[in-house]
């Protein structure tokens, strides 16, 4: 594993990269526009106010720490109290008995967010399939990221492992909204395996550039790259130094089917909470056809503008 650290202002901005996905092309094109729809938070540019989904097994006592409430408060939160049941239990049967408790628990947490100046939405779901529920609700609320909670103390260090092309625009919206404090620092960390097509250096540079464009102080952004055969293990090990991890949801590789999603595996092993950046689902994605753009962005940006 070789490290190659540079700070963002030293990093060269490479020639405009090949578009990887149509979404990304769109994002890049728009970033050169005059940005009529730009909102600002603390003087930083937010294109699409991020929505963070917090799925919590409240009946099993799962909650988020006070520091995480503070950290997430600038975003729009959707607090999802879910209870996963074995198939022998009808969801209706469990809801008759536990609905009230679940609702109380999630409202307590919502109050904590309200005290921190936010206005969260709350949902209570009884389900036989946790993943299905999270995916459905994330789609319905147009979530930018989904939180996989882990205990954490004060949040200063944000670690962004980048292992595949990432939606810089979404990442920037989320990170720019979250890093408010003076001590907050962001590390963009590109990882790749030997012989992989993915160019981590270019990816982190592009992400850093996007953050700079949004007005994030270059001094707070660090970029680095590693070549490794065991990215998941490396990220888990590194998590001890980070206070929160932001990463893209894993694509459906064979390994992820067998062992679970990478982000889930990292959240299980890591010390820090993980914010999983969601890809836009086809219904949320801004289509290539510009004539349909107005409708689509209205749907995708639902909660914001």
């Amino acid at each position: 594993m070789s490290d190659d650290r540079t700070t963002a202002d030293e990093a060269e901005t490479g020639p405009d990269a090949d578009p990887v996905t149509s979404t990304e092309t769109e994002a890049r094109d728009r970033s050169t526009d005059p940005e009529p729809d730009r909102a600002t938070a603390g003087g930083l540019a937010i294109r699409e106010p991020p929505v963070v989904l917090l799925p919590l097994a409240v009946l099993d006592g799962e909650t988020v720490s006070e520091s995480l409430v503070e950290f997430l408060a600038p975003t729009k939160e959707v607090l999802l109290a879910y209870h996963e049941l074995p198939e022998q239990t009808p969801t209706e049967q469990a809801s008759l008995q536990f609905e009230e408790r679940a609702r109380e628990a999630i409202e307590d947490l919502a109050d904590a967010f309200r005290d921190a100046g936010s206005d969260p939405e709350t949902r209570v779901v009884f389900t036989h399939g946790r993943q299905q529920t999270i995916d459905r609700v994330a789609g319905e609320v147009g979530a930018t990221a989904v939180l996989l909670p882990n205990p954490t103390g004060d949040i200063d260090e944000v670690l962004v492992p980048i292992r595949e092309p990432i939606d810089d625009d979404r990442l920037a919206d989320l990170v720019t909204t979250l890093i408010e404090g003076e001590n907050d620092r962001v590390t963009l960390w590109g990882l790749t395996a030997e012989g992989d097509d993915f160019d981590p250096a270019r990816a982190v540079e592009r992400a850093a550039e996007e953050l700079r464009e949004r007005g994030v102080d270059s001094a707070t952004v660090t970029t680095e790259t590693s070549v490794t055969a065991t990215p998941v293990r490396d990220i888990v090990e590194r998590s001890a130094d980070a206070d929160v991890i932001v990463m893209r949801e894993g694509t459906g590789s064979v390994v992820s089917v067998l062992l679970g999603d990478d982000a889930e595996r990292i959240a299980t092993g890591a010390v820090a909470p993980v914010l999983v950046l969601r890809d836009r689902t086809p219904s949320e994605a801004e289509p290539d056809d510009p004539s349909a753009d107005a409708d689509a962005s209205g749907a995708a940006h639902g909660s914001g503008e």
Partner: protein, 480 residues
């Protein structure tokens, strides 16, 4: 407390002072949207079409192919195929009205729910409580079937049991195991069920395909010539009454209606598809089995006759494949029945027809421990009796009463359609279909053994007595 003019509010209280609970207030039919309760809580729908068919087929297939062929052939000769065909037709006549009612009321509880809402609390209570016991009888029957297969596996493996009867002890052991698994198991086995059913269907299609070709003389062996109905017409009907247990599973799909995605489409499809699928397999199995051996020989093989048929075609390997399939099929049927039993208990406890404690869920394991115990406990008693034919017939009796009343419920709904009644699926020519369904379901009961009829009637009377004693005041008709 008396029923108010408000028809959509459940009312009345039982002897313990409990009132019926309504949880779900909205149930979308055509989408994957969850059901929503009064306070806005969402109940995720997680079972797709495949899962629904797997529940139906998984519940049914254990009996018709792996337990009944020998017994049925012994009673009716090759005409047992007609008995199975009759069963399939009756099941279809009921599955259509059940589909309409289920898409109009896609809630957990199935037949009990439709009948109590359409015909009132007394018929509802009789059906609700007797279907709990009907499922207990069915589960016991499947477990005894499993015991037979487990014993045959031991025999195949050369284990000497020294003449000790092992069928019932093995069935009891597995009954305890399955109940415990459901009480404490938190792993979702739904996907596993799909694979088991898929594997079963694969083994059966290979077996029946080969056997069918053989029976038609393709491989040049003479099949056993035999009179089609050596014992006349009546045994065809009594056999149909006996083997109807092989079709009890389709209505179980309706008991998970609350969990099925796009219920307006998937419920009717899953119910009808599973009946047609198992019906074809049953008829083919009898055809193949009676072609391979004479009915008398087949009858002498008893519950595991189909293993000998497979041995005849495929030697030891064929026998072992069918033995494994038989174990899987009877386990899957027994397990599905235990789950249905637990749901049936919940449905009546939610409506305050039995004490509410029966519907309690254990937070640690997330399982309905009381309802599951009310399934597993009585099952063990019945397994100990070990009477396959009586177990099967009583189970069928109690289900057939429910099926007949479901058809009547359809008439009640259609004749005076309430405003909320908006099924996504409507039975074509409903007076004919539901009328035939009601009459043929009730008619089949007449061909059962007197013992089974007496036990069935006693259970229904006891259920009615319980309602009068415990929950006379509870009103359910028209309540959604």
């Amino acid at each position: 407390m008396t029923a108010s003019g408000e028809e959509t509010v459940a009312s009345g209280e039982n002897r313990a002072g409990e009132t019926p609970q309504t949880a779900i207030v909205s149930t979308p039919e055509g989408t994957d949207e969850p059901s929503v309760t009064e306070t806005g809580t969402e109940l995720e729908r997680t079972i797709g079409l495949t899962g629904g068919i797997a529940i139906g087929v998984g519940t049914m297939i254990g009996a018709g192919i792996f337990v009944f062929p020998g017994i049925a052939a012994g009673r009716a000769g090759p005409a047992a195929a007609v008995s199975f065909g009759l069963g399939a037709i009756i099941a279809l006549l009921v599955a259509l009205p059940a589909s309409e009612l289920a898409t109009a009321m896609p809630k957990s509880g199935g037949g009990y729910y439709f009948i109590s809402r359409a015909l009132g609390a007394l018929p509802g209570a009789i059906v609700g409580i007797s279907i709990w016991l009907g499922l207990v009888f069915a589960t016991a029957f499947y477990l005894v079937g499993f015991g037979n297969y487990a014993a045959a596996v031991l025999a195949e493996a050369g284990v000497d049991v020294a003449g000790v009867p092992v069928v019932v002890p093995l069935a009891l052991l597995f009954g305890v195991f399955l109940t415990a698994l459901n009480l404490f198991g938190t792993e979702n086995a739904a996907a596993l069920q799909n694979y088991v059913v898929g594997l079963l269907l694969t083994i059966l299609v290979i077996f029946l395909g080969y056997g069918g070709l053989d029976a038609l003389g393709v491989f040049g062996r003479a099949s056993t010539p035999e009179t089609f109905a050596p014992f006349g017409a009546t045994p065809v009907f009594t056999t149909a009454a006996l083997v109807f247990t092989s079709y009890l599973g389709f209505a179980q799909v309706a008991t998970v209606a609350g969990d099925i995605k796009r219920p307006g489409r998937n419920l009717p499809l899953a119910m009808i598809a599973s009946v047609v699928l198992v019906g074809v397999l049953y008829v083919a199995t009898i055809f193949v089995a009676t072609s391979a051996f004479g009915s008398a020989a087949l009858a002498s093989f008893g519950e595991t006759a189909i293993v000998e048929v497979a041995r005849n075609f495929g030697g030891r390997a064929g026998a072992i494949a069918i033995l494994i399939a038989g174990l899987l099929a009877t386990v899957s049927s027994a397990n599905a029945s235990i789950l249905s039993t637990s749901r049936a208990v919940f449905a009546v406890s939610k409506d305050a027809l039995v004490p509410g404690i029966a519907g309690r869920v254990n937070l640690r394991y997330g399982t309905p421990h009381v309802a599951l115990s009310m399934a597993g406990g009585p099952v063990l008693v019945l397994v100990a009796l070990g009477e396959v034919e009586v177990l099967a017939e009583v189970a069928s009796f109690l289900h057939l009463v429910m099926y007949s009343l479901m058809c009547v419920a359809l008439f009640a709904m259609r004749r005076d359609e309430p405003e909320w009644y908006d099924p996504a699926f409507r039975v074509p020519a409903y007076p004919l279909v539901a009328g035939l369904g009601a009459v043929s379901s009730a008619g089949l009961i007449l061909f059962m053994q007197p013992t089974s009829q007496i036990i069935g009637i006693a259970i229904m009377l006891a259920s009615a007595g319980w309602y009068k004693y415990y929950a006379d005041d509870v009103q359910l008709k028209g309540v959604l």
